[in-house]
């Protein structure tokens, strides 16, 4: 665990799509898939990112360009440094023995990438608005795509596609990350079909280690008890699918995009 930001040099950059870049750097942190780190740009800000690639001492984060901070990350060149601390959060409870499906909406697929690396027999669904937003096409050659505009794969949402697939093939577990409305519907679907499900929540992260309360979701700290929650946990969390806190602590509709665009791509309407 690195408590104070350690400056690491970016040693490789991969353009995953026009809006997503993966930045690689050396670090010997030990990760459980689904955990996250806090990334610091001195004098600017510090924000949470999942580690999307773990290769020995080489770690990668996949960043969707969305606002000031992620824009600055996209401007980083090889040799530039960023500060990292972590890992934080609980990570997914991986059950390699189960037939599983991984469902990523938008940049949510980044949180699932190391899950995919780890589990032997899985079905992978990646959903975006349009074909150009799909990432990791070379990394994972056996993905099922769905796009809102139908420009690649299934036309519609990941929820629709999952529902389709589930009719033919019974999964024992679903791992998902993406817009909360999407995840909410996937959880409903899993409940209906008695499939175990783990979702990785997105809440405003401030301290990252459980002290500030900013990342609250119905009494659960996203940064400590989460970001990954199971269905039994979510059943007790009223705010799931409904409410998130702004930076001030104000409660807002988690699906209201003017206020809170945690994930810019919402294909789960």
């Amino acid at each position: 665990m690195i408590e104070q930001p350690a400056m690491v040099k970016i040693c490789d950059i991969r353009e995953e799509s026009p809006l997503v870049k993966t930045l690689f750097f050396e670090s010997s942190m030990n990760f459980i898939p689904g955990q996250f780190i806090m990334v610091w740009i001195p004098m600017v800000d510090e924000k949470p990112f999942t580690v999307s690639s773990i290769q020995k001492n080489l770690l990668g984060i996949s960043v969707l360009k969305k606002g000031t901070f992620t824009d600055l990350l996209h401007q980083k060149r090889i040799g530039d440094t960023i500060g990292i601390r972590g890992p934080y959060g609980n990570g997914f409870h991986l059950q390699p023995e189960l037939h599983s499906c991984v469902v990523g909406g938008g940049i949510g697929i980044a949180s699932l990438a190391t899950v995919i690396d780890t589990l032997p027999k899985i079905t992978i669904i990646q959903g975006t608005r349009t074909a150009s937003e799909i990432i990791y096409r070379k990394r994972f050659t056996d993905m099922r795509f769905c796009t809102e505009d139908g420009s690649l794969g299934f036309r519609g949402t990941t929820v629709d596609l999952l529902e389709d697939i589930v009719k033919k093939q019974q999964f024992q577990k679903v791992y998902t990350c993406g817009p909360e409305k999407m995840m909410f519907k996937i959880v409903e679907l899993c409940k209906k079909h008695h499939i175990a499900c783990e979702v990785s929540l997105d809440r405003y992260i401030k301290c990252g280690f459980g002290i500030c309360g900013q990342c609250d979701c119905s009494g659960q700290r996203t940064c400590v008890e989460g970001p990954v929650f199971t269905i039994p946990e979510l059943n007790t969390m009223e705010d799931f699918g409904r409410v998130a806190l702004l930076k001030t602590g104000e409660r807002v509709d988690v699906n209201n995009h003017r206020q809170l665009s945690y994930i810019s791509i919402d294909n789960a309407k």
């Binding site: 400056m7 001195p42 004098m43 900013q214 609250d216 602590g249």
Partner: protein
């Protein structure tokens, strides 16, 4: 040995045990306060609330170092209107809840306290002591006997709830200020807020780590200073003291109480030992009481004095 008594009184509030969640730690939502209560706290304090909403400082706002923690959160809060809604049914928490109220001018404090009228808080806490937020606490000149007296008096007029004034360890003569609060009608002193401010520089980045550059120091580093403040206050004032600063074990809590505290605030301890730090501390206190044949925790209050 007869049953142990861990319950204490602060002003007219009865707590099942002396551990109180300190302000600014987790107290953003009622749900989290409830969870802290379920984890054993005797009382809980909300994040400080101001008249208007505040985003606070940019991140990093909280970092740890080998001797404690440095924070400059900058009093982020949704403003009293929305906060009052969040905490409307605060009695659901199940233990006494303390509302932390901040402001720049004394009228602000009054407005915030008035804004809480529909809620069921058990007490109001007023920090006049933040070392790192422009417009508040020390940076608004609130760390003087006069300002303390004025603000306390103003709030005293608009609420019947017990009033706790929270002081800084980083001003000389904490007793003088505490006396001003007592004279103005405060029912308890919370001692202390974070100290400093301090700074930690990342030498590779060649920049202070906190975005606000400086922040208040809490945790182990603060404990001896907080203990001394409580010890001094115990000899200077007659109202109870909530000893706060670096308490993360039962031994620390006992130390604070021997210095003169009626109850202890716990903040950084949540980081050191987890959200169940309250339960752990109470168990450790109980065990120590058993080993030392003490049946009522109140008997150790002030024991370190001559």
């Amino acid at each position: 040995m007869s049953k142990l008594n861990l319950s204490v009184r602060v002003g007219n509030i009865q707590l099942r045990n002396p551990t109180i969640l300190a302000s600014g730690i987790l107290g953003v939502t009622k749900a989290l306060l409830k969870r802290v209560a379920e984890n054993g706290a005797g009382a809980v304090t909300t994040k400080s609330m101001s008249k208007e909403p505040r985003e606070g400082h940019k991140n990093p706002t909280v970092i740890t170092f080998e001797a404690g923690m440095l924070n400059a959160v900058g009093y982020s809060n949704p403003g009293i209107e929305k906060a009052a809604r969040e905490f409307a049914d605060i009695q659901d928490v199940g233990v006494p809840a303390i509302a932390s109220v901040i402001g720049t001018h004394k009228e602000d404090f009054v407005r915030v306290v008035e804004g809480l009228s529909g809620t069921h808080f058990s007490a109001i806490e007023i920090p006049l002591s933040c070392p790192h937020t422009p417009g508040f606490g020390l940076l608004a000149g609130q760390g003087t006997p006069q300002a303390t007296f004025e603000i306390t008096s103003a709030v005293r007029k608009v609420t019947e709830l017990p009033l706790f004034i929270k002081l800084s360890p980083s001003i000389p003569e904490i007793s003088t200020i505490a006396k001003a609060a007592e004279d103005a009608g405060a029912n308890a002193i919370t001692a202390v807020n974070s100290m400093g401010p301090g700074m930690i520089i990342n030498i590779e980045a060649q920049k202070p780590i906190l975005d606000y550059k400086v922040g208040g120091v809490t945790g182990d580093a603060l404990r001896p200073i907080a203990t001394r403040c409580v010890y001094d206050l115990y000899e200077a004032i007659n109202i109870p003291i909530i000893g706060t600063g670096g308490v993360s074990t039962g031994r620390h809590a006992i130390e604070m109480m021997m210095a003169g505290a009626s109850a202890v605030g716990i903040g950084t301890g949540v980081y050191y030992r987890g959200i169940d730090v309250f339960k752990k501390i109470c168990e450790e206190i109980s065990q120590w009481m058993r080993e030392n044949s003490i049946s009522d925790i109140n008997t150790i209050k002030g024991a370190a004095h001559d």
